[in-house]
Amino acid sequence: MGTANDAIFANKLGHFYLTIAQGLGDFLHTHIGALPQDKVRILSDEQTRVISYANTFFSLSDKIAFEQSDIYFKGVSDAIGTVNDAIRKMEDINKVIIISSGVITLAAAIVTQNGSGIVSSLQTIGAAVKV
């Protein structure tokens, strides 16, 4: 059974995905006139998925917890600041799409309580942010 801290973590994750969705939205809003149609479609689809996961985290409360989840969640917490910074500074649409795909995979791993999936997603995101 989850604790109040798990509910607080779910809220924190919701904010993380909300910030990413805002970053993607700002990018789309600013560049939509200059972007090719296929990129607009991919980016808007990814923003929709990020919004959907943010909604999930805001309503998940302490149900987010699973066995040893605190270990995996610490890794996620450590990555939040780095990813937020990276999204804010990005100008290259391809890099935006790669990082947003990574955070979508991470969200899926968290929601399905897949510990190894969380670890591998964090590695993928870490590599994409550094490029």
Partner: protein, 274 residues
């Protein structure tokens, strides 16, 4: 002579009791503003049922007919009822505390009839911790109202239930923030849809309709988010107030405490009225 002494003694005790009540008037001002703010929050505003109604058409991109945008907000309504009950119980607790602080104006009390049950309501959750802390506050509020405790009981109650109040307020703040953030997400989806529609060869007339709808809905969401921000701040002030009382429980008459607690009371009233 003996009866004169008794009379004077009685008058002195009466005066001391009166002074004691007067000296807790700041505590009462705080409990009163907290109760009113919580009661106000329990009765008004945009809730989960409203969210269900808005989200079911803002997120629906494949609907063709009006019927495709119909939605069932029953779980949202049930959840709203539970959250309102939590506000009511917390309000009752502060009313009961106010009674111990010497208030005579908090008699309008009807105990919450049923417990707040932990569970999942559609996609929304009431946690076991939440249910436990809120129900224990309901019990103490009813006890304080129905038993003729003396005002000195206030110290014991503040100390005993401080942790419970802090957790309850934090959980309610979490509810407020979760719903507010979900409204922020609807704003993002609205902007995305309008951006895509505008870019999709819309005519001038269609563009105007898109801009108008977007701006109106954005304004509405902005007002709701602002009201939730104030509600969140108000909760924080109420929590701070109870913690301050707990930290100074043996010095409830000090000028420093009176000033701090009155400042919080004014802030709560301001946030509740604006």
């Amino acid at each position: 002579m003996k009866s004169t002494g008794t009379l004077i003694g009685g008058l002195l005790i009466g005066c001391m009791m009166q002074v004691g009540c007067v000296q807790l008037k700041e505590v009462h001002a705080f409990t009163d503003s907290s109760q009113k703010s919580l009661d106000n929050d329990s009765q008004t505003g945009y809730g989960y049922a409203d969210y269900c109604f808005d989200s079911c058409y803002i997120y629906n991109v494949s609907g063709r007919q009006l019927v495709d945008f119909d939605c069932n907000g029953n779980n949202g309504e049930v959840y709203d009822t539970l959250i309102k009950k939590e506000y009511r119980i917390l309000g009752d607790y502060f009313a009961a505390l106010g009674k111990l602080a010497g208030s005579k104006s908090t008699i309008n009390f009807a105990p919450v009839a049923s417990a707040v049950k932990a569970g999942t309501y559609g996609k929304f959750v009431v946690t076991a911790t939440e249910s436990s802390v809120v129900n224990s506050l309901a019990t103490v509020a009813t006890d304080l109202f129905t038993t003729n405790y003396k005002s000195k009981k206030i110290k014991e109650v503040i100390v005993k239930y401080n942790d419970t109040i802090v957790i309850a307020m934090e959980l309610l703040k979490l509810h407020i923030d979760n719903l507010k953030s979900m409204i922020e997400l609807m704003k993002l989806k609205l902007q995305q849809r309008c951006d895509l529609l505008m870019a999709n060869n819309a005519t001038d007339g269609e563009k105007w309709a898109i801009v108008y709808t977007y701006k109106q809905k954005l304004k509405q969401f902005g007002q709701i988010i602002s009201s939730y921000d104030k509600r969140y701040q108000s909760m924080d002030k109420i929590k701070q107030g109870h913690m301050t009382l707990n930290e100074n429980v043996n010095d409830l008459h000090s000028d420093g405490l009176k000033k701090r607690i009155l400042d919080l009371a004014y802030n709560i009233i301001y946030l509740s009225n604006n």
